[in-house]
């Protein structure tokens, strides 16, 4: 099995639905340690992504990534817009002109996205950011592909690792973003960016299953 434009479109529509359903919860997580807008901003951005994909129907995964990235960059604002926008822009560039992505191809595109997020946000593992969910997800994905797993199995491994990474942010003291101004008071709260990233990989796994 491979990831076609249709598969990736279904993934993003599913992510849109899950973000919308959990908009309130993501915003509450952000109220505790940030500026109380993560769910609202992500829901607005993914709604715009769904409209864009319906209106333009990209021909390749590469075109899809670039369209999704630019839409998020121009509609989300704050820190999430550039971070998720960069993720999908780099995903699109890495996917190139391929008609569809096999397991290693999807992994390479996702990792290019992660590298973009790290470069943009200068976040490292343990800073209490979305990187805490995304980096383990990609490591798990690559390990699964290297040991001969299918694309669906690799995506499931990534989803499980992203969820574990999300949970690992709870005790951490934030070192990046607005939560960092709270110092020790940022501990004992889940990072909202890691929570939305865990949804991103959960919906990918469900779509490829």
């Amino acid at each position: 099995m491979t990831a076609t434009v249709q598969t990736l479109t279904n993934w993003l529509l599913s992510f849109r639905d899950v973000v919308e359903e959990n908009k309130q919860w993501l915003t509450e997580l952000d109220s505790a340690i940030g500026d109380a807008d993560h769910g609202i901003n992500m829901a607005r951005g993914m709604s715009a992504v769904a409209d864009k994909l319906t209106a333009t129907a990209p021909a390749t995964p590469g075109e899809l990534g670039k369209a999704v990235g630019m839409t998020l960059v121009t509609t989300v604002g704050g820190a999430s817009g550039p971070l998720y926008g960069t993720f999908f822009l780099r995903f699109g560039v890495a996917a190139g002109t391929a008609e569809e992505l096999d397991a290693p191809g999807l992994g390479a595109a996702l990792r290019a996205g992660l590298d973009g997020v790290v470069a943009r946000g200068k976040g490292e593992i343990g800073d209490k950011t979305m990187v805490d969910a995304m980096a383990p997800a990609l490591d798990a994905y690559d390990a699964a592909v290297a040991s001969g797993s299918s694309i669906a199995e690799a995506a499931s491994a990534a989803a499980a690792a992203a969820a574990a990474g999300r949970d690992s942010t709870v005790p951490l003291v934030a070192r990046k973003g607005r939560a960092s101004y709270l110092g020790e008071r940022s501990a004992d709260h889940m990072d909202p960016g890691s929570a939305s990233t865990a949804f991103l990989f959960a919906t990918l796994a469900e779509t490829l299953r």
């Binding site: 500026d35 109380a36 604002g77 704050g78 550039p82 101004y181 110092g183």
Partner: protein
């Protein structure tokens, strides 16, 4: 929530329309939410752009005009504008001498302006430099945080750097001057009340009548600590001492701003300025220029901030140069 608005979601657009109605000398791009000076682009002049979340008025749109900014990008309330807005402004104000982005140090603002600069380089070849303002001494440990926030010094920097650009200095010189101003200014703020983001509809934090927050930013975020309410004289000391402890201001002429957060009357700001000036006198910091009023606000928050800039003849000359904007106007 009692506010002078039509709807929470329309507040930014409606305010832009009001600015256009009040100041016909400015040009407004409603689609991109950018305020331009009427004669932009000015041929041969470095273009100055700033922007940020709305709710800090008059910053930044009130500082667009001769001798200050060429354009200001407005985001949603307390949310950074997006790179496409900044890219549109960058293209529109380039008069052939390049563009300086003036960015307050918040994670979202910094990343969105970075992307705008990358897009400008890729699409247009316009030379872009950036200054990230980070003057807030309330944030102490910058190794383990996103760094000091950009607050009151942004106003003084936009004035001084704007004057230099107006005089025809090139992009490198203007950017170097911005870095110099940023290195010589410090700010500290406090709040008596929280503020209500229109879309949220309720105060961002609860602050009992007998308490105040010291070391706030400009988004209703919590301060460094919460302490019992005190007389103005003691509040002034709590704001000025961390500033003087962070940089040696003695002997050099200072430009001082006593800024209201939006909900404190001018009479109280003058009470505070009197106390601040007395402390600076005693500390051997000669005040050369003063600004008292609401210049960088946090919606209807009651409270104030103090900014002190260690100036020299160059900076004082640029400060005194003509400026004609909605919120600052002299020498013209």
């Amino acid at each position: 929530m009692k506010k002078l608005i039509n709807s929470p979601e329309g507040v930014v657009a409606d305010a832009l329309a009001g600015i256009a109605a009040a100041h016909p000398g400015l040009k407004i791009d409603y689609a991109n939410r950018v305020i331009y000076r009427g004669d932009s682009p000015v041929a041969g002049k470095v273009g100055l752009i700033s922007g940020g979340g709305s709710g800090h008025e008059p910053l930044h749109g009130g500082f667009v005009g001769l001798g200050m900014l060429d354009a200001a990008c407005a985001g949603e309330v307390f949310t950074s504008p997006t790179p496409d807005q900044m890219l549109a402004a960058t293209k529109a104000v380039d008069g052939g001498a390049g563009v300086l982005h003036i960015v307050k140090n918040y994670t979202g603002d910094v990343m969105n302006f970075e992307m705008a600069a990358e897009l400008a380089a890729a699409e247009t070849g316009v030379a872009v430099k950036s200054i990230v303002v980070n003057d807030d001494v309330a944030v102490q440990d910058s190794l383990y945080t996103a760094g000091r926030r950009g607050v009151g010094l942004t106003v003084l920097l936009e004035k001084i750097v704007g004057a230099a650009a107006e005089q025809g200095r090139d992009l490198d010189s203007v950017a170097d001057l911005a870095a110099k101003v940023n290195s010589l200014g410090r700010s500290m703020g406090m709040a008596l009340t929280s503020c209500i983001v229109p879309a949220a509809g309720k105060p961002t934090f609860d602050l009992p009548d007998d308490q105040m927050e010291i070391g706030i930013g400009i988004h209703g975020e919590p301060g460094r600590h919460r302490v019992p309410l005190a007389p103005a004289k003691e509040i002034a000391a709590q704001l000025v001492e961390p500033i003087l402890g962070d940089l040696d201001f003695t002997g050099a002429p200072a430009i001082v701003m006593l800024n209201g957060m939006g909900g404190s009357p001018l009479i109280e700001l003058y009470v505070m300025y009197g106390e601040v000036k007395a402390i600076l006198d005693k500390a051997g910091v000669p005040v050369a220029r003063t600004l008292v009023g609401n210049y960088i606000t946090s919606l209807e928050m009651a409270g104030c901030s103090v900014t002190v800039l260690k100036a020299d003849d160059e900076l004082l000359g640029l400060w005194d140069a003509p400026v004609s904007t909605p919120a600052l106007r002299w020498g013209v």
